[in-house]
């Protein structure tokens, strides 16, 4: 196995919006891709994630999971020790032993991911071959797949991308006479998934599947008659893998806020030839409800300035929502990785005054943040308390991933996440 080079921006085709992007190189204050296991294992209920890595990896996942300590979580780390590195123990034999012990303990597991880490990538431990070998041994009860969540290749939500991309080759092929089908790609809260399913039904789009599915055995079929909508902005590799299976991407903004959700549904409606008045009729109720709920937050948030540190790749769509639907003044939107093509719709909606930055030198970004003195800063947990202590108001970005925020009925919840820190600061007299 070779190391996959970090995709450099020059690899991506430029979108129509060629505004400047600030790129700096320095310390990045972001999680690695392993962290996405924290939500992926809740979404895929019969999957287990085994990180093959170091004590640092185990400590990272545990710390990121924070208080969410489950009785027995469906993730673990096979911690490599000196013997594995010195070749005293065959790392493959060791891995087989660990996996066997794990699967004996957990007969409920149907899908096992071997998740590569920085150390496993650096020593070039071939997890693809290991997954193949273990699959042969444990199929049909358990399928074993692999992907890398290493920090040298992936940032935070890119771990989800790598995981879903590993699932795509496992998706069954659609039958030759298959009709048109819609695939929604990206982990969503179950409640959001159900809402979207109802909306698509009302639009007359009945063959709808979601990736990832809640159960390993429910992997949807894919083929040339599949068109897909991305529900998350971090899915470059997954999209490429789906394209390779013949599926077609429907270009759309992401379903955040009333506008984003409508445009996202519109993309599917156009592809399914849904009459435009049927779309209008379908979304009228939910739209009105959402706008009404947003109004309260708009009063508080309008004209307030906001600064985004890079974290989940959701920054650009959320900034678009806050700028256009709540009237916020976006100063800088940092994102760990900017997929120009998937985000071209989003970027064109952003006001010209917004500074876009990709990657990070955290010290220089902190300088910019302090000098622009925003009303609210969106940042990771490592920065939040220190910035609060400096007098800035912060919103932890990780909450944006652990809260259902997509779709009409969550638009106000998304706005509330930004309103709460301001309300709190205004309330406290200590």
């Amino acid at each position: 196995m070779t190391l996959i080079a970090m995709r450099s921006p020059s690899d991506s085709p430029m979108g129509c919006d060629n505004r400047p992007v600030l790129r700096q190189r320095g310390q990045r204050e972001v999680f690695c891709g392993l962290t996405s296991i924290v939500w992926l294992h809740r979404k895929m209920r019969d999957a287990f994630f085994l990180v093959v890595g170091s004590r640092t990896c185990a400590h990272l996942v545990q710390s990121a999971a924070g208080v969410m300590i489950f009785a027995e979580p469906r993730f673990a780390t096979a911690i490599m020790d000196e013997r594995d590195l010195a070749g005293l123990a065959d790392a493959n034999d060791e891995l087989d032993r660990v996996v066997t012990r794990l699967l004996e303990r957990r007969p409920d597991i149907k899908l096992l991911f071997l998740v590569g880490s920085c150390p496993s990538e650096v020593i070039k431990l071939d997890l693809a071959r290991a997954a193949e070998r273990l699959s042969q041994r444990f199929l049909p009860e358990v399928r074993v797949l692999n992907y890398s969540g290493s920090g040298i290749e992936t940032t935070f939500t890119q771990g989800e991308d790598a995981c879903l991309a590993a699932l795509v080759p496992q998706m069954p092929s659609e039958p030759a006479n298959a009709g048109k089908s819609l695939l929604v790609v990206g982990a969503l809260a179950d409640i959001v998934e159900d809402q979207f399913r109802r909306l698509f039904e009302n639009l007359g789009i009945s063959t709808v599947a979601f990736l990832p599915a809640r159960a390993a055995s429910d992997l949807p079929a894919v083929g040339p008659n599949t068109q897909y909508l991305l529900a998350q902005p971090c899915l470059g590799d997954t999209a490429r893998a789906l394209d390779a299976r013949g599926a077609k991407r429907l270009s759309a903004p992401f379903p955040l806020g009333v506008e984003g959700t409508t445009e996202w549904l519109r993309a599917a409606s156009i592809a399914w030839d849904v009459p435009s008045d049927r779309l209008v009729e379908t979304v009228r109720g939910p739209q009105a409800r959402a706008r009404q709920a947003l109004q309260r937050h708009r009063e508080l948030l309008a004209e307030k300035s906001i600064f985004f540190f890079p974290d989940s790749q959701l920054e650009i769509p959320i900034a678009r929502f806050l700028a256009r639907e709540l009237g916020m003044n976006v100063i800088e939107v940092g994102t760990p990785y900017l997929h120009q093509q998937h985000l071209s719709n989003e970027i064109s909606y952003l006001p010209e005054s917004v500074r876009l930055s990709e990657g990070q030198d955290v010290e220089m970004q902190l300088d910019r943040c302090r000098s622009s003195n925003p009303d609210i800063v969106v940042c990771g947990l490592g920065l939040a308390n220190p910035l609060e202590a400096e007098g800035l108001t912060t919103k932890w970005s990780i909450e944006l991933l652990f809260t259902p925020i997509q779709g009409y009925d969550q638009a106000a919840d998304l706005a509330e996440l930004f309103a709460r820190p301001l309300v709190r600061r205004a309330t406290l007299e200590v």
């Binding site: 190391l3 996959i4 080079a5 970090m6 450099s8 320095g26 310390q27 990045r28 972001v30 999680f31 690695c32 891709g33 962290t35 170091s54 004590r55 640092t56 185990a58 400590h59 990272l60 545990q62 710390s63 990121a64 924070g66 208080v67 300590i69 009785a71 027995e72 979580p73 673990a76 780390t77 096979a78 911690i79 490599m80 020790d81 000196e82 594995d84 590195l85 790392a91 060791e94 032993r97 660990v98 012990r101 794990l102 920085c118 150390p119 990538e121 650096v122 290493s150 920090g151 040298i152 290749e153 940032t155 010290e363 990771g380 947990l381 490592g382 920065l383 939040a384 308390n385 220190p386």
Partner: protein, 530 residues
Amino acid sequence: MQLTLWTYEGPPHVGAMRVATAMKGLHYVLHAPQGDTYADLLFTMIERRDQRPPVTYTTFQARDLGSDTAELFKTACQAAYDRFKPDAMIVGASCTAELIQDDPGGLALALNLPVPVVPLELPAYQKKENWGAAETFYRLARAFAGPRAPRPGTPRPARVSGTRPRCNLLGPTALGFRNRDDVAEIAKLLETIGVDVSVTAPMGATVDDLSRLGDADFNVVLYPEIAGVTAQWLERAFHQPSTKTVPLGVVATRAFIAEVASLAGIEVAAALSAIDTGRSRLPWYSRSVDSTYLTGKRVFIFGDATHALAAARIAHQEFGFAVVGLGTYSREFARDVREAAKAYGIEALITDDYLEVEAKVAELQPDLVLGTQMERHIAKRLGIPNAVISAPVHVQDFPARYAPQMGFEGANVIFDTWVHPLMMGLEEHLLAMFKGDFEFHESAAPSHLGHSANAQQAGLDRLDQAATAAMDHAGNNSVSWETDAEKELSKIPFFVRGKARRNTERYATERGLQLVTVETLYDAKAHFSR
């Protein structure tokens, strides 16, 4: 390769961070990939620190591996110096950087920075967090105090008469369990008996403070896991003796005062009488009749070696509990814990496998679990009362109020903390007498902890299942229960029912009985009550 669900300790570089974050004017440059910055949130979120840890990460990526990660390190190191202007720096590698062998120490020295640079070698694939903290502290002490050490063989000059004896307080770090308040409590105690604190380190110390470590007459080692190695070196280099008693609990605090007095050349009796023991409430609280109900409560203890050993002592000598389980994840101190366990007639559990600890708790069915945040989760799941006594801990274990563990006030805090999760004395009796009463029903939790009633019952059910499973596993569950006996068992208060079932089955098994009757139940009760 070790299968790990939850770890008690992080990697050794996190130990180094705990030292760097505790100190002032020290900056740590860590050669590490993206993602390793997660460690910052341990300090900013769990400990609620209002500043970022003084750590710069190089954040190398896959594409750098083929080119020049060494250059990246040098750039980051220089930039960190330019921006933070620290008094000194420590440099090292995290687990991945260790594999690419860039030699951060050599690279940093080549930069000729105008401040001292201390390189750290922390083998990430062999060692863990506490070792990393201890090693970092030792390297720093050597680097800054070392040059002032007298030539070997030079006797230590006598203290100038008329001056108060001075000691160093060694071991407190960032993220340590109650370190902030322990330092305050012990410093106050030392002050009272006439001993001055020269340097407290790592917590709050500058590198200049470290260079003065040799000035003190002796060292107080608060946390042997962190400061043991440094204290041994100071003993060799400066002939400074150090304390061996950790002042956790009333008995140990008294012994600690006596030890300090003898090291300081103070009259022991005078030192002890200088203390206002009226504020030490544990002894009376423990003797007061309400505490009778604490007698013989079965307690399971797990943590770092220092806190686990102390908890066992306190549980036995100061609460009258029965120590039924004792263990540690600090392998470096395994021998001490094994010896202590032997004194309680049990075998120590030396492991860093969370599952093994959980299995042991389920098997022992203790009345109280004293442990780390991992044991809190185990106990919560099994519905057993619990209290936290050792790192690793979570945000709720960094309380706003003053809550030391050490010294007499620490013992007061421990009394409250351990008694609180238990059923109150009279309540326990009422429950036994009026079983089935609508208020005192069997799934009632301690009345002062109302909300957890259902969780507790659910936990007990799981505990029962776990115990049954454990017995199945051992292949000795050949005993079945007659319906009447089962009914009679259900009349026994829930918090002793598991024990009753276990004892009865053991009694039956030992006598080759296949079926437990009501008679067997009471025979067993009589047998075990002797």
